[in-house]
């Protein structure tokens, strides 16, 4: 066995025609964050520290929908959420409605470690962040021009979207050209296992473009977007509402346990059962297996194992 790590930058309707100027920075981001994770694992850091570190990097990267670069609510504000879980102890922490904390995932970790609670949200979470001396900034720090544009498009089309969603199919192709360019970002996550079988997962997001103020998605709901136990660690991405109903992250572990199948089979099984085009996930098992299934057009992802294997991808190898 050996360590293994997987990261994602969101699943969705990422068109195959994604222009290089949209694709390359994200691939570079995935590559860099993967390297950060690999270095941390090689230095024998605990997976909990590794996933937090990697997700902090992804949050700081403006081209992914977390931290800086988060998509906007219907009023143009940012409300971030994040969640972290340790497979061995099953301790977890989650936050929602965070608008000034530079790294929501670190706030989630503090909830887990410094309070007797699991989940803090909105004003209470912000107050706790200040109590803990976490770095906070003006909300404008997180807002990027791409996301202002994305919100505008979503409001014109009068809908809420995962950010990759192509414009409404029944409309003319010219709308497709307009919306296509800027819709490709998504939730971020990282799962890792060390060579002792310690597992951890972390997920972070700005949520859905044009979401209602106060809307909470799957990311901070333990068992939906994020879950880890002694068998595996999972981070999901896609349409939050579908992931919540499908208790996606929890089901991967449950199916492995109750059906006695491999991680890859369990992950594929679970993704098959959510509506097409709504979800993807990354997972690692205690024995170093990796799975990264998705039923959307694509999912920004990368993974590596101790024996030297590594991969960065967006679409299926079959769809090239």
């Amino acid at each position: 066995m050996g360590w293994a790590i997987a990261i994602h930058g969101g699943a969705g309707d990422i068109p195959l025609s994604l222009p290089p100027e949209k694709r390359l920075p994200r691939e570079a981001g995935l590559r860099r964050c993967l390297e950060v994770g690999i270095a941390a694992l090689k230095a024998r850091n605990h997976p909990l520290d590794v996933v937090e570190l990697v997700v902090r990097e992804l949050e700081n990267h403006p081209n992914f929908n977390a931290g800086k670069g988060s998509v906007l609510t219907t009023t143009g504000t940012v409300e971030m959420e994040a969640c972290i879980m340790d497979g061995k102890t099953m301790k977890c922490g989650a936050v929602s409605g965070v608008s000034t904390v530079v790294n929501a995932i670190s706030l989630a970790r503090l909830v887990m470690e410094k309070t007797s609670h699991i989940y803090l949200a909105f004003d209470g979470a912000e107050a706790f962040a200040r109590d803990q001396g976490l770095e906070t900034v003006e909300m404008s720090h997180f807002i990027t021009p791409e996301n202002i544009e994305r919100l505008k498009q979503a409001q014109e089309a009068d809908r809420v979207q995962i950010d990759y969603t192509q414009p409404i199919q029944k409309e003319t192709p010219k709308d497709a050209a307009v919306a296509d360019g800027d819709s490709q970002i998504g939730t971020v996550g990282c799962v890792a296992v060390d060579n002792e079988g310690n597992l951890a997962t972390a997920t972070s997001t700005g949520g859905l473009v044009n979401k209602m103020v106060g809307r909470i998605g799957d990311t901070p709901v333990i068992g939906a977007g994020t879950y880890a136990n002694h068998l595996c660690a999972v981070s999901a991405t896609g349409r939050g509402e579908a992931i919540i109903r499908g208790t996606v992250a929890r089901d991967v572990a449950a199916v492995m346990e109750f059906k006695g199948i491999s991680l890859k089979e369990a992950a594929a099984y679970v993704i098959d059962r959510v509506p097409p085009g709504t979800a993807g996930l990354i997972a690692v098992s205690s024995t170093g297996e990796i799975a990264m299934p998705f039923n959307t057009t694509g999912m920004f992802r990368a993974c590596a194992t101790e024996d030297g294997y590594s991969e960065i991808a967006i679409w299926d190898s079959t769809s090239k």
Binding site: F128, I222, G223, I244, G246, T247, F258
Partner: protein, 325 residues
């Protein structure tokens, strides 16, 4: 087999020294709520409507920890949360951080029915409530004298616990229950308020539904969210089963308790009673909790590893039971 079935709960974890009158009062409320549910089922109301109706009744009555009578935050205010789930298509709705909405479970229902989302919280949820025209009241309405007193005791208990480390039952001989109180969520059981109310129903058509509502943990940090609004933890319903949990929120979340009942039925082929027993026995570790559940076949079950759980259940063939221990 088959036919409707209903169960209600008013929290897991009861002080063994709870005065008899309080126990009777609780049983009367549970009976009344069961009757409301039974009436609705006999009039062919679908499961999803019945759970909402019954939980509204539990929220309105100040006895249990939901709606009026909710536990108080560390600041002495009320922040309520609730969730509801409809088995057939697993549609769901949840709310947290409500301070003026008279019936949180109904707002959760509206989130499910009237928005593209599943979960709304705090200011955003309150704004949605205003737009929907649901009944709003001042936060004071939810606060009872009893709970103001409890909050004071909880704060004292927390500081005592910090300084003197009151031993838990496991380290004590077992005789002096008064000196070494049972604890839940870090509070002596005399102070800890059972956390939630809930209702699960399967109607004549075999449709399951579940709903849970709570004021949360006494003396909680503002902004703290517990298990009740989390689908898969405090509430879950699918084609097979409807589940509502109560007890130590953090333990219920870690074990995704409500989903667990359904998962062992679905993937291990256990029946309802076996599933409930299994998850209570093996999935809670040191956590203390209870749950009620119904299956699409008209069965009803409850399980808890706490000292007592306020509960009641009834089935179409005439079975009815209300209990505390």
């Amino acid at each position: 087999m088959g036919g409707w079935a209903i169960a209600v709960h008013g929290g897991a974890g009861v002080d063994p020294n709870l005065p008899k009158e309080r126990q009777e009062e609780a049983k009367r409320l549970l009976t009344r709520c069961l009757d409301i549910g039974i009436s609705a089922l006999r009039s062919n109301l679908p499961a999803i409507d019945v759970v909402e109706l019954v939980v509204r009744e539990l929220e309105t009555d100040p006895l249990f920890n939901s709606g009026r009578g909710s536990a108080l935050t560390e600041k002495g205010t009320v922040e309520m949360e609730a969730s509801i789930m409809d088995g057939p298509k697993r549609r769901c709705g949840a709310v947290s951080g409500l301070t003026t909405v008279k019936n949180p479970v109904s707002l959760a229902r509206l989130v499910m029915d009237k928005t593209p989302h599943s979960y709304l919280a705090f200011a955003g949820a309150e704004e949605f409530a205003r737009k929907q025209g649901v009944e709003l009241v001042d936060n004071q309405y939810f606060i009872t004298e009893d709970n103001v007193g409890m909050l004071k005791l909880a704060k004292e208990a927390n500081s005592i616990l910090f300084d003197y480390r009151i031993p838990t039952l496991s380290t004590c001989g077992g005789g002096a229950a008064l000196e070494s109180p049972i604890q839940m969520n870090g509070l002596p059981i005399s102070v800890y308020a059972p956390e939630t109310v809930g209702c699960v129903v399967v109607d004549k058509e075999g449709r399951c539904a579940a709903a849970t509502s709570t004021g949360g943990l006494m003396n909680k940090m503002t902004g703290r969210i517990g298990d009740s609004p989390l689908i898969g933890s405090g509430t879950y319903a699918c084609e097979l089963v409807g589940v509502s949990c109560t007890g130590e929120g953090e333990a219920i979340i870690r074990s995704t308790l409500a989903r667990e009942v359904a998962a062992v039925m679905e993937y291990k082929g256990l029946n309802l009673h076996e599933a409930v027993d299994y998850v209570i026995k093996y999935r809670l570790d040191e956590g203390k909790a209870g749950l009620i559940a119904v299956s699409k076949n008209g069965e009803v079950a409850c399980g808890f590893n706490t000292t007592g759980m306020f509960r009641g259940c009834a089935t179409e063939d005439g079975f009815m039971e209300v209990g505390v221990w």
